[in-house]
């Protein structure tokens, strides 16, 4: 064991000498893995949920070590955080960090800030914004606002909960994970709209203060908003991420293991591939031409239109069936209501073309397959990765390239406001490349 360890250290050092600038050494936790690499696994979710027969299909999960700011002993390592390139900021269940006492982060009015985040399936997360030191692989964001998802459902304002608490996903069993690691295109979850400089009434559901009840919408300075941990890394690997997952051969796989790489063009292991096409974006989206129908922003001023996007937090490919030819799955199956998934009678091989909305000559044809979701789950009820799991994004909406898009493709996501300088001549973020 010791000899292997020494060999690995030597190899690690060699890497330092041969490689480009950046100067990161090996990960403090595993000397064989570079510091800017976070292992991810599509493994079906937390073991306790799987033991109850509930698999999380096409969820990529990772661990983070969360400490009180400035502490290296008051720490908890939380596993099964959903790796989500479609959201921004770390959100962790209070129940996953019961021993941690983190300092409150304040809204601009001086009271402790609470965050409410909605997701498109009408679920929500509610809880205080707190400061933490977050370590991902060998990278640390040393004092970054995160959202702690409250155990308690008391006093949640109705603009957050929608007058029902049934979709408050504040447990491992309702959320399907211990938290969400939002490493997408933006540095903060709300940005300018929730900053006091926006003026007027604070938007909702977003941030609140609860010094007096009921909790009321509040502005929070951008620096205090729940922050994409990547931009807060102390290293140069803070300008974006690369998701690397292997292809899923056949219909499904029990587990798929890959990596979330931090930084683009800053280390030997995160250089932009020659075969990747860079897509600049409009309203954090691009255009997908499918069935001769362009699905993209039509009114950039209001960001309206059937926008298309890449999102590792979506667990399938979701697109409008423009010709209305693909049947939906039934709403009553041994796996629950599957009526949002497609159930064609046989495998369909389709393709679409993604297009840069600002430079429409930049396009890339992308193949994908659509298979019967009920048959997939029935044939492999304990598998986690499904390359052909697809479903409906209703007509009039765009193309949602979820996790199946990532299998076998390196997907680069460059963060708004950061700089990617290698290779030269790249556009300013935000952009995607694959």
């Amino acid at each position: 064991m010791r000899k292997q360890f020494l060999v690995l250290i030597l190899l690690g050092s060699l890497g330092l000498v041969v490689g480009c600038g950046g100067g990161s050494s090996s990960s403090s936790s595993d000397p064989s893995v570079a510091a800017n690499v976070l292992p991810i696994a599509v493994d079906g979710g937390p073991p306790a949920n799987q033991a109850n027969g509930a698999i999380y299909p096409n969820g990529a999960f990772a661990s983070a070590t969360i400490c009180a700011p400035g502490s290296s002993s008051n720490c908890v390592t939380v596993d099964h955080l959903l790796v989500d390139t479609g959201s921004y900021g770390l959100r962790v269940l209070e129940s996953a960090i019961p021993s941690l006492n983190l300092p409150a982060v304040n809204a601009s009015n001086g009271s402790a800030a609470y965050d409410c985040v909605s997701f498109v399936d009408m679920s929500f997360l509610w809880g205080p914004v707190e400061a933490a030191s977050v370590t991902l692989g060998g990278e640390t964001a040393s004092n970054v606002p995160i959202q702690v998802v409250s155990n308690s459902t008391a006093n949640i304002p109705t603009s957050c909960s929608g007058n029902t608490l049934s979709e408050d996903q504040n447990t491992q069993s309702t959320l399907g994970a211990n938290g969400i690691l939002g490493v997408g295109l933006e540095p903060a979850d709300c940005g300018f709209l929730c900053d006091p400089s926006a003026g007027g009434t604070p938007p909702s559901p977003a941030y609140y203060t609860c010094a007096k009840l009921p909790c009321l919408p509040a502005f929070v300075d951008v620096a205090n908003q729940v922050t994409n941990p990547v931009v807060a890394f102390s290293s140069a690997d803070n300008n974006g991420v690369i998701v690397e997952l292997p292809a899923v051969s056949g219909g499904s796989a029990a587990t798929v293991k890959g990596s979330l790489i931090f930084g683009i063009g800053t280390e030997t292991n995160n250089q932009l591939s020659n075969s990747a096409t860079v897509f600049t974006l409009l309203c954090d989206s691009f255009t997908t031409i499918f069935d001769n129908t362009p699905l993209g922003i039509t009114d950039p001023k209001h960001c309206s239109g059937p926008a298309s996007f890449i999102d590792s937090g979506s667990n399938g490919l979701f697109f409008p069936d423009v010709n209305n030819s693909i049947p939906m799955c039934p709403n009553s199956t041994p796996f629950g209501d599957l009526s949002e998934f497609y159930c064609p009678t046989s495998l369909q091989n389709l393709s679409a073309t993604n297009e840069d909305p600002n430079t429409t000559s930049t396009t890339k044809k992308t193949n994908f397959s659509v298979n019967n979701a009920l048959n997939l789950f029935t044939a492999a009820p304990t598998d986690a990765a499904f390359g052909t799991l697809t479903g409906l994004n209703p007509p009039g909406f765009g193309f949602d390239w979820g996790l199946p898009f990532f299998y076998g493709v390196h997907v680069y996501s460059a963060i708004d406001g950061q700089t990617v300088s290698t290779p030269m001549g790249l556009p300013s973020p935000p952009w995607w490349a694959y």
Binding site: P205, G396, G398
Partner: protein, 159 residues
């Protein structure tokens, strides 16, 4: 949510005038299935701004914009009933306000057991369709009463 009785004076005034100017309290009436006065109720409850009213042949669309920029389009039939609501923007609007008396049906539908995972919502039931999609800071959705769609308006045009 306040009941009709609890809303007292402001509500009585609203009843008498027809087109509401709702003060601080938010009456239970809200958009979907409601009459056109519920559009103003929604606007006031959300502290939204009225944008415009677009006239099509068989319906009108009242557009309002909530703080933070989310635009909500309320489709009103010639008889003055709101038969569809669509939204797009950085924040998801309050579903009880948008769905009104249809909120219970929607709430029950989203509680149906589904596999884990984040994906667009597609509720298609007799009498109510609710569809949502997007991601953080870029949400969109629509809710409509299928039997009330005017001839010539396809569901995918509701946005």
């Amino acid at each position: 949510m306040k009941t009709l009785l609890e809303s007292s004076k402001p509500f009585t005034a609203w009843l008498m005038v027809g087109i509401g100017w709702v003060a601080l309290s938010c009456p239970a009436l809200a958009a979907l299935g409601g009459d056109v006065t519920s559009v103003e109720a929604d606007r006031a409850h959300m502290k939204a701004e009225s944008l415009e009213v677009k006239q099509a042949t068989a319906y009108k669309v009242h557009a309002i914009q909530a703080p933070g920029g989310t635009i909500i389009n309320e489709y009103v039939s010639p008889a003055g009933r709101v038969f569809a609501v669509a939204w797009h923007g950085p924040f998801i609007p309050e579903m009880p306000q948008i769905l009104g008396s249809y909120f219970q049906q929607y709430s029950a539908a989203i509680q149906a057991k589904r596999p884990y995972g984040r994906r667009p919502l597609n509720i298609q039931q007799p009498g109510l369709v609710v569809q949502t999609g997007g991601h953080m800071r870029a949400y969109f959705g629509r809710a409509y009463l299928p039997e009330m769609l005017p001839a010539g308006l396809k569901a995918d045009e509701i946005k």
